[in-house]
Every structure is written in structure tokens, then in C-alpha cells.
Amino acid sequence: MPSGAPAILVRDLRKRYGDHEAVRGLDFEVATGEIFGLLGPNGAGKTTTVEILEGYRVRDGGEVTVLGMDPGDRPRDLRERVGIVLQSCGMYRHVKVHEAVAYWAALYPGARDVDEVIEIVGLGEKRDALARTLSGGQARRLDLALALVGDPELIFLDEPTTGFDPAARRAAWATIRRLKELGKTVLLTTHYLDEAQALCDRVAIVKDGRIVVEGPPSTLGTAASRCQVAWTDADGIRQTREVEDPTPLLNELTTAALAGNEPLRDLTVTRPSLEDVYLELTEDVDAAPSEPAA
């Protein structure tokens, strides 16, 4: 699946606004054909990072390559191969859905069929509606249609399902998964953890302009946080322990139970979910007087 040069390569990326250092040395790679998620609280530097990759902002330091090109130069060839769903973004109020998609299609050399794209995002019934009459979720689907109609190799999705009802979210997820099946690369930012868990091959959690942890969503728990082992002891008292590696503790417990011929009751080993990891890592440290963890 992932092959050759990475679709996105970011090395020691830095960006400041005045005195505020929004991005402080970010490193990550996104392989071709991968869905990569950037997670983090508001103000963590996600959108700044994505906007540098999209060519909207100029970085202050570091190295950035998107499809082998430097987005800072804004090459047209790159813009023809990339689709962008911005976090919040307006549209001509008096344009009809199919007119907008057709206008966008003409901007790209290898555009997809306009009506097919309108169907894929689920706006078939709104084909002739004016943009200003669309609901928030429908407008977001139009955003997605405009990003997909050029048949891009790489798609940036900045909080693509904000404002969707649950059914529309599931539909959008299915569309994004289909992009992966077509071999597209997706960089997704979201603050919905279930979305990251459902879609992403790998995620990076960003905080204060740095990546605090990175990996497949299912393994992030083991990599970054502790396991909780709980059981009821011989005196009927509930015991819990948090450990990096549960193996020695489990060995100790089971050996003792076998030796004493007592059943080890109500034993549970819980790996933290992505949400637990996320909450632990992005906890607001301003409340504590200590230095924030690097």
C-alpha cells in the first residue's frame, strides 16, 4: 500500500505570529494512500500546519514537501493535484450547486463527472438549489464536492463533518473511506475522536505546536499511556493498579492465586481508549504551576 516517496513530509516545521509561536518544530510523514489524522485542542497549531501544507501560509522554518513539491512556492501543478476542504469557508451566495461543481471541475485537468460527484456527496436532490439556501451540513457537503471534483491525489480535510447529523457523518465517513480505496491520500484534522478512530490509519496528537504522540489509533493507548489492572482480592476488596506493562503484575497475581488455590475474581485489564489518551495528553497544564511536559 504505502509506496515510494511520502505524500507529505514535514521536518522541524516552525511558524510564529508576533510573539506567539504557533508551531514549534513539528515532524511527521504521510505515506501515499494513507489517511492521517491531526488531533488536538483548539489553538494547538493544527490549522496553521495544514494551511502551510496547502500553500496559504509561509513557514518560518523547517522543511515541507507535498507530493514532492514545496507548497510555499504555490506551484499550479500542485494545486491541480490537491483538494482542500477548509475549516470555514464561504461560497458565492447565488450560485447553484451544479453550477459551482461544474465551474470547479473546469479548473482541473482531469476532473471527475460533475453529476457523479454531486451524488457521491449526497446533494443529488439539491442539484439546482442556490448555495445560500443550503443548511450547514449541506454546505459542508458542497465543500467536499468542490474538493473532490478535480480528482485530487491528496485531500486536506479540516474538520470536514462539523455540523453534520449522525447519518450525514456516517455517509461522509463512507465517502472518505472510498477515497482511500481509490488510493488517495487524506490529511484529516478533527476534534472528534471517534472520527479519527473510524477513519485514520495513523494519528498525531498536537499540543502547543508540537506532536505529543503519533501512531495508529488502536496502538496509541499502549504506546503512550498506562494500562489499568483491576481485580477483587481475597478479602473482597477491589484493587486497581496502573502500570506501564501489565505482564509482571498479572504473573504475580495469577501465581499467587494458583498458589493459594483462590480464584482471581473480577480481573480486568483496560487499555485506555484514544479518548483517554487524548484527554491525558492534552490536559490543560496551565492550571498546574509546574513546567509543561516537553
Binding site: Y56, I84, L86, C89, H94, L107
Partner: protein, 246 residues
């Protein structure tokens, strides 16, 4: 597609958006008509010979400078410019489409003024069509470019009418839209002469009323060309998809 084709496609999108908003379209054409009717009712023929070219110049400025300063600020605030900036559409094709659309509105208004002066005021057809075309196009290029460049200075859409009018209203008063510019005090006259509108009106007056030949309008042409060039450089170089300081 070539940059020209994309510019043409964008021009057509702009025209469609303009007519889809019929009240806005209606009022932008009604403004010069209102001025013509009011001044037609209170002016004698000699005054009309000043006022008709003045209103033609005012229309050129309103449909280009005012309209584009407002529109570009709105599109920037709404995030439409940001969205367009992320597509392969070249900036020059986009600007050409936008400027072409504003120019079309200006041409329609000049046509309204020409028809009104012939049929409502009995001033006759323009004395020199070539001069009319040259000064209309030059005025449009000049004010359209300046309007786009000026939008980069406007902080947000709520502030756009104030920013636009603080330029537009003084300029139309000192540039002799409603009276003979020679009657303006010298220091204001000097300021007005450094700005484009006086020269657009001089050219339009030659075209519509006096028939003064083009070779007597070279200084007006020179000032307008200079402003158009400065405006174009500022409009292209200064382009921004977000508000200043954001």
C-alpha cells in the same frame, strides 16, 4: 484550459451572480438615473453640459472603485477568496473576470447616460465616440484596479461602506461632478488634478459635449495611465485572501 478561457468562465460566473441578485443590480443602475433626473430638473443647458459628463464619470467610479472595494472585502471576509486561492485558478484569470464584470456595469451606465442626454435632455449624440470609448475604458481600468487594491486596506466588510465613501464622496465633490471644476479653490483643484476622476471627466466632457480632440487630452491620458499602472501593480502584488493583521 488557458488562462484566457478561465478568465472568460469567471467573467460569466460573475455576471450570473450579479443578475441573480436583482435588487442589487437594479439599484446599481438606478443611481446615475436618479442623479440625471434630479439635475435635469434643476439645470439649464449650460449646466447640463457640465453635469452630464460629471455623472458619467461618477458612474464609472461607483461601478468600479466602490463596487469592487466592497465586493472584494465581502468575498475575503466570507472566505470565498481563500477558497479560490486553493484552486488552480490563476490569480490573474480571477482578477480579469472580476474586473471585466465591473467594466460591463460601467459600460451599461455610460450607455444609460448617453441615451438620457440624447433623448431626455436633447444634448445630442456624443461628439467623439473614440474619445468616449478610450476614456471610459481607461477610467474603468484605473478605478477597478484601485478599488481592488483599496480593499486590501479595509479591515472588514462592516467597515467597507465607510472606507469607500470617505474616498468617494470628497473625490466626487472636488472633481467637478456637479459644477465646473475651474470654480474649485486652487489647493483643492491641485489635489483633484492629482487624482484620476477629474481626468476621466475631462475626457468624457470632450467626448460627450465639447468635441475637444484627443491630442489636446494627452495630459489627462498620461495621468490615467499612470494611475491604472500603479493600481494594477498594487492590486496584483498586494493580493491577500485574509484580512490584514489576522
Amino acid at each position: 484550459m488557458s488562462d484566457m478561457t478561465l478568465a472568460w468562465r469567471h467573467y460569466r460566473l460573475e455576471r450570473r451572480m450579479f443578475w441573480r441578485n436583482p435588487t442589487a443590480a437594479f439599484f446599481s443602475f438606478v443611481l446615475p438615473l436618479i442623479f440625471l433626473v434630479l439635475f435635469g430638473a434643476i439645470s439649464d443647458d449650460d449646466q447640463l453640459r457640465i453635469i452630464v459628463p460629471g455623472i458619467a464619470g461618477l458612474s464609472v467610479m461607483a461601478t468600479t472603485f466602490n463596487a469592487l472595494a466592497m465586493q472584494m472585502t465581502f468575498l475575503r471576509d466570507a472566505g470565498v477568496l481563500k477558497r479560490m486561492h486553493g484552486t488552480p485558478l490563476p490569480g490573474r484569470s480571477y482578477l480579469a473576470g472580476v474586473l471585466g464584470s465591473a467594466a460591463t456595469n460601467a459600460l451599461v451606465q455610460i450607455a444609460i447616460v448617453v441615451l438620457a442626454s440624447r433623448f431626455a435632455f436633447g444634448l445630442g449624440w456624443p461628439e467623439n465616440w473614440l474619445t468616449l470609448v478610450i476614456f471610459t475604458l481607461l477610467g474603468v481600468s484605473c478605478f477597478a484596479a484601485i478599488g481592488v487594491a483599496f480593499s486590501y486596506v479595509i479591515p472588514n466588510f462592516e467597515a467597507a461602506p465607510a472606507y469607500t465613501n470617505i474616498i468617494f464622496l470628497p473625490v466626487i465633490f472636488i472633481s467637478g461632478v456637479f459644477y465646473d471644476v475651474e470654480k474649485v479653490p486652487t489647493f483643492l483643484h491641485d489635489i483633484a488634478n492629482a487624482l484620476p476622476l477629474v481626468h476621466v471627466i475631462n475626457g468624457l466632457q470632450a467626448a460627450l459635449v465639447t468635441g475637444k480632440p484627443l491630442h489636446d487630452l494627452l495630459s489627462d491620458l498620461a495621468v490615467l495611465l499612470l494611475w491604472a499602472a500603479l493600481g494594477a501593480v498594487a492590486a496584483v502584488r498586494g493580493f491577500r485572501w485574509d484580512a490584514r493583521g489576522s
